[in-house]
Symmetry: C2
């Protein structure tokens, strides 16, 4: 049994994975959790392609690395702290490739306007990440590979109406993770009108 707020507190990006497989039974729970999310008109336009196949996983990891090396890293230098930059750099170059499972989270444009898909797919994705945390899995929401969305679609045989929106590596964390750092409520919450302190 996992306490709800403990799970929220523990969720954190994981970019280094232990060399240990993940059972389907755990993935069943995590995918089930994803499908509990709300969606516009309850149309549930989410699609999950769960990749274990070595060649496909490697190809997805390569696309992530390529985007990172072709410009992602340059964009992030100076924007990220040195510590976080080093962690993301490790993840993009090799860490994510070590995840035994990669879930490509997609939106089905036949089940909702393309513009409305994010509001109906990212909540499901967040449920997936939280459930992974509840199960002790490491996970991370990544979108670097999606810069090459057409290649991702080709790799996975996605029909035109199914758009890849995020890539989530899943596996057992290589090391325990601390709590995430977040901005305080006073910076992000407002009362009745923007600028009035919460």
């Amino acid at each position: 049994m996992a306490e709800f707020y403990d799970v929220l507190r523990a969720q954190r990006a994981c970019r280094s994975f232990a060399d240990r497989d993940v059972d389907d039974t755990v993935l069943d729970k995590v995918l089930w959790a994803a499908t509990r999310a709300p969606s516009a008109e309850n149309r549930q336009p989410w699609v999950f392609v769960v990749v274990r196949d070595d060649a496909t996983r490697r190809a997805l990891a390569d696309l992530t690395r390529r985007t990172w090396e072709e410009g992602g890293r340059a964009h992030s230098v100076g924007r990220l702290s040195e510590r976080l930059l080093a962690e993301v750099d490790h993840g993009a170059r090799e860490g994510l490739a070590g995840a035994p499972v990669m879930v490509v989270v997609c939106g089905d444009a036949d089940r909702g306007h393309a513009a409305a898909l994010p509001a109906s797919v990212f909540p499901a994705l967040q449920n997936l990440l939280l459930s992974a945390t509840a199960e002790g899995l490491g996970s991370v929401l990544t979108t670097l590979a999606l810069v090459h969305g057409d290649e991702v679609a080709h790799l996975l045989g996605l029909p035109d109406h199914v758009r890849p929106m995020a890539l989530v590596p899943l596996g057992w964390p290589a090391a325990p993770q601390g709590e995430a750092r977040r901005r305080p409520l006073s910076e992000v919450a407002h009362r009745d009108r923007y600028g009035r302190g919460w």
Copy 2:
């Protein structure tokens, strides 16, 4: 203490609220939960405007009703089941206006590319909805009012770089709610390649 999977199971759109206020202490928890979500580069571009003010709440409810009556309803007829259509119709016309609190969830384009905001804001929004559920609050993710996003921005005094992305009415449910209906995993999960059964 709320068990994580019980919260996931219980989350459901609520469109009828009891005439009873919500304390700031509960909202503090719900907003804190929202800020635990991941975001691109951990930039946390979320902004929450928590509206209790009567006139502002009424104006937001009016924008929702207007969008519904001006075309939203016509779009949904035939797409939604009769039961869900009646529920959404009631919500848009009067139910949501009965919520004592409305949270306008926004993305700050100064903290991330506009195109990347959904991946960094909707996970936080989902945390907010789950926490509301854990606290026994009713909630619903709505975007109808955002068709008139400029008016929402004007009402709340949002600067240009802060874009309203969703409106979440919050309050105590008028009646107990059952479990949500969802498509089975076999319809939405694929193994290694689209079309291969999970």
